[in-house]
Each structure stands twice: as C-alpha cells, then as structure tokens.
C-alpha cells in the first residue's frame, strides 16, 4: 500500500523564540530546525504500516523552501522511500497549504495520507481535515493508534474524556497525535541510504494566503511569584493567598 506523509520543517521545541525585525515573524538567527514532532509520529506510523503489510511505498511530502530538503532527508533516513518538495510560500493559512498539498496528492491518489495533528510552529491544527475535505475523503484527527481491517482504517482518536473509535473506508486521511507511534531514530545506514533516495522538487500550485499576521509579540513575562514557604507548614498561608489574593478557591 502506498502512503503519503505530509511533514513540516519547524523550529526545535527547545528554541527560545524572539520576534524578528519585521515584527510579524520570528528571528531565525541561531534557530535549529527539525521535523515537527507530530510529523515524526506520522512517519513512524507509515513505516510500521508498510513493514506490517510487507509491501508498498512511503512518500514524504512538504510544502516549503529549499531548506525543507533537510527535513525530507531526515524522513528518508528513518526509512521513507521517496520525497517530494513543493516549492512555495508557507503561511499560517492552513487552507492555502491544504490546497497546495491536495493538488499534488490528488494526482497520485494514495489509499492512505498521514499528517501530524498539528505543526509545532503555528499550532493551527487544521491542514489534515482541510486536505481531506478538499479531496472528498473521510478523515480522523488526533489519532493515537490505528489498524487496517477489510479495506478500512480503524482509528483511535483522542477526544475530551476518552478515546473514540472511528472506521474510515480507504482512501482516507488520518492525523496522528502522540500515542503508539514513538518514532525511531535514523540509523547510520539509514542516513547513508537516504542520500541516494529520490527527492523530487517542483513548484507548488500555491493558493494565496488570506490569513495575515499583523503583529507578533512575546507573551507578557510571567512575574516569578512568591515562594510562600518551605514544607507543609507553608500550606495554610498558600491556601489563604489562593483564597484572598488570587480569588481562586
């Protein structure tokens, strides 16, 4: 079974964010970029599915600039078979991204498309279900585990208060959250092999972004509060403060 995984290049989660000179985006100097963590789960899910079935091909797909090739190579080193870079602008408008991805995916029409539940930069949590809607395919979001069964994918989707089980007939789109798919590390052999795997580059069929960032700000520093005291003896004072000062008890 052929699987496409959409992945995105984002700043490492350790990054200390600073606002750039334009006042609308981050200062990129010194920022280390990685594959978005949820996309790693999605790549892992695709690789395991292929391994279990013993056949098929895993393609990783990204919309971005040339620097995103590095992210694609990381996925190839994990074990993906081939990579496609759609060169184009990336904005917070997930619908514009979904349109560019749909234009590419519509052509190859794979039975399963996997994405991360959200990208660890804009945290928009939307591209997966938008893509599915554009392609006219069923979609399950925030899936921590899935199995293939009789031409369907059975998804365990994390919702408030529990897990919902959804059965989607293939072809389907699934967004992956943290759960069963702890990502593997690329082996040295994998890294070497990745250099020879196909990485295609083409112009994205970009749609204009209709969501514009007017300004970006850092959150107000949370003032370090007070250390109420040490040990259990400090508890009555803490409770008094929570009740009288913070008004939360």
């Amino acid at each position: 079974m052929n699987i496409i995984v959409c992945i995105k290049r984002v700043p490492d989660t350790e990054t200390r964010i600073r606002v750039g000179d334009d006042g609308t985006s981050i200062d990129e100097s010194g920022v280390k970029y990685v594959m978005s963590p949820y996309d790693e789960f999605a790549v892992e899910a695709a690789l395991r599915t292929k391994e279990e079935l013993g056949e098929g091909e895993v393609t990783v797909l990204t919309l971005g600039d040339d620097a995103s090739q590095e992210t694609l190579r990381t996925a190839l080193a994990m074990g993906a078979d081939k990579a496609v870079l759609l060169q184009g602008d990336v904005s917070p408008d997930g619908l514009a991204t979904a349109k560019a991805l749909a234009a590419e995916i519509g052509e190859s029409d794979p039975p399963l498309v996997l994405l991360g539940v959200k990208a660890a930069d804009d945290d928009q949590q939307q591209v997966g279900p938008m893509l599915a809607t554009l392609l006219g395919r069923p979609c399950a979001t925030a899936v921590s585990n899935f199995e293939l069964k009789d031409g369907a994918v059975v998804c365990h989707s994390e919702v408030e208060g529990g897990t919902q089980v959804l059965e989607l007939p293939l072809p389907a789109v699934v967004t992956i959250t943290k759960g069963e798919f702890e990502p593997r590390y690329a082996s040295l052999k994998g890294i070497m092999a990745a250099k020879r795997k196909p990485l295609e580059t083409r112009e994205a069929q970009s749609a204009p972004s209709r969501l514009e960032v007017k300004s970006m700000e850092l959150p107000p520093e949370r003032e370090a509060g007070k250390i109420v005291g040490e040990g259990a003896d400090a508890v009555p004072e803490l409770v008094r403060l929570l009740r009288e000062e913070a008004n939360v008890l």
């Binding site: 609308t24 945290d123 279900p129 809607t133 994390e158 040990g231 259990a232 929570l242």
Partner: protein, 328 residues
C-alpha cells in the same frame, strides 16, 4: 455584525466552553453593533436546551435536531453548520477549541472556502472588523491576525473567555435539515471513556498535574485526593516524563506534545518546568508549584510556590482545601 456561535451538547448539557463562545459572540456583536446567534445540533430532544442559551447572550438559537446528529459525526456536522452559515449570512462564525470544535472547524473552513484561526485567546472589534489574537510556538509568542475573507472563522480556547449570564431569552427556531447518513463514509464505532466524571485536562477549570517527582504511579492517589477536594471542576494532568513512563494516559499530558491548557488554577506537583511543559500551561490564571528543588524552573512561572517534599505538602494541602470547602 452577525455572529454565529456553534455550540456543543454532551449528555443533555451545553458545556462551559460552548457557553463561553456564546458570551464572546454576544459581546463582540454588541461592540460592533449586531447580533449573536447560537447553533445547536443534536438528537430529537435537543430543542429542550435551546431556550436556556439566551441567558448567555444568544438573541436567536437555531436548532438542528435529527437522530443522526445525536452525537458528533465528522461527516454530518460540518454539512449542517455550513448550511446554517450560508442561510444566515453571518460575518463571523465562532466555535469552542475543544477536540470536537478543532475537528469540525477545518472541515467547515474547507467547505466554505475561508481560512480558519484556531485557538483564539483574545478577540476584539476595531473599525468594524474582528481582531483576533492567538498563541503560536506553543504559547511562546502571540500573533494578531487579519482575516481577508468572510465569514471570519475561529475557534476560541476554553477557559479564556468568560461565560456571562445575562437577562433576556432567545428566540428559538429550527433549522430544517435534509440528511442522508447512509452516505457518510465514517463509522463512529465506539467511545471508551477514560476519566469517568472527571473533566478532561483541556477543559477543567482547575488542574492538578503530577511529574516524575511523584516517584511511582501508586502515589497518584495523593493527587486524586487533592483533585477531589478541589471539586467537580478539577481535572488531572501530567508531565510527559510520567506519560512516557506509562504511569499516566496520553490524554493527560500537558505541554508542547500534549494538551495546551488554560485553567483558572494549575498545580504543578513534582514537575521541573521544562520549556515544553511550560508551553502547555503558561496561560493558566494562577500557577502553584510544589517542588523540593528551589532552583526548579517551574518557580519562574509559578505565582505561588512551596519548596518542599510533595509527600508532606500535598496531603496537608488536601486537608486544608477540604476544611475550607467544609466551611463553605
């Protein structure tokens, strides 16, 4: 400005996050000059809850009642909301940023061909248009957005906006829907509840979170007791370290690769305060940290801290909270 609040119902109730969305829609509509409506989807008896929504500011409540809408369905709900939006000619559509809302809204966006802003934490009106603010980089920064489309579509983060009761009832009207559930490809097979009556960490107004300092999953009874003492609005959270160790379910994880929470009150017990954990809870109203290491980074964001052994502090805290609640 005509604003539609799309609300949820669960077990015959409209949850807090949905009431917040109605109130936010009402105050924005008031500011801009206009009206807020609410849309309620559910089974045949859902109409019973409709009139009560006026109390949160909806001038009109549209009800789509149908057997096939009793539970959220990812293929059915977006269609119905789309119909209501198109028929009503709304300038803005707001939903709660719950799992359901964040699943529904992107599908709706694609159907309406408009962009979507998820997880808004602040909204206001300027020059007759909505100004939306949302956290990015897991709360390490905030952006102000301009939406170049109509209707403006957004989800609002739970617990951030206030649900305000007002005077005045709502006009209730039914939305006539024609549905063909047999054509919906997705089968919603089952639901496994994890927490019983305990609210989910993403929705709870008070969160008690434990980290590796708890030492052993057996010790969670200490946090359970504290949670219970704090009342029915309190839920449980966890750091990734304890989720990865298998001590707690994934659904409880707070942080960059877990849930982002904004409760009124957050307790971080035996949690060091790694940047990825802070990302998930730094917008909480009041943060309390209990840690035996005075240099733990969690104290840099906590409003109140106690330096000490959690195994002594937590039981005492539970006792004091119980005593306080007993006094009324």
């Amino acid at each position: 400005m005509k604003i539609l609040a799309v609300v949820e119902q669960r077990d015959g109730e409209v949850p807090g996050a949905s009431r917040e969305v109605i109130s936010a829609a009402a105050s924005l509509a008031e500011e801009a000059g206009g009206e807020a409506h609410a849309l309620l989807l559910g089974g045949p008896e859902v109409s019973e809850q409709a009139a009560a929504l006026g109390a949160f500011g909806a001038a009109r409540v549209k009800v789509a009642a149908h057997d096939a809408l009793a539970e959220y369905h990812p293929d059915g709900y977006p269609q119905v909301v789309r119909q209501a939006v198109e028929e009503g000619g709304y300038d803005a559509v707001l939903l709660p940023a719950t799992s359901q809302g964040k699943d529904l809204a992107p599908r709706l966006a694609a159907l309406l061909d408009v962009p979507l802003a998820q997880d808004i934490t602040r909204a206001s009106v300027a020059e007759g248009a909505l100004e939306l603010f949302r956290p990015v980089y897991a709360g390490k920064a905030f952006t102000q957005l301009k939406v170049d489309a109509s209707p403006v579509l957004a989800t609002l983060r739970p617990n951030v906006f206030q649900a305000q009761e007002r005077d005045g009832g709502a006009e209730v009207e039914s939305l006539e829907v024609e549905l063909d559930p047999d054509s919906w490809p997705t089968v919603v097979a089952s639901f496994e509840a994890t927490g019983g009556d305990v609210p989910d960490v993403a929705e709870a107004a008070v969160v008690v979170s434990g980290g590796r300092g708890m030492k052993d999953p057996e010790n969670w009874n200490l946090l359970e007791d504290l949670r219970e003492a704090l009342g029915s609005e309190a839920g449980l959270g966890a750091s990734r370290a304890v989720v990865d160790a298998g001590w707690r379910p994934h659904g409880e994880q707070v942080g960059q690769t877990g849930k982002t929470v904004a409760p009124k009150l957050y307790f971080a017990i035996g949690i060091s305060g790694a940047i990825q954990h802070l990302a998930g809870m730094r917008t909480a109203g009041t943060i309390v940290a209990v840690n035996r290491d005075p240099d733990a980074p969690i104290f840099k964001v906590a409003d109140y801290g106690i330096v000490g052994d959690l195994f002594e502090v937590v039981p005492r805290l539970t006792q004091e909270v119980r005593d306080l609640k007993a006094q009324g």
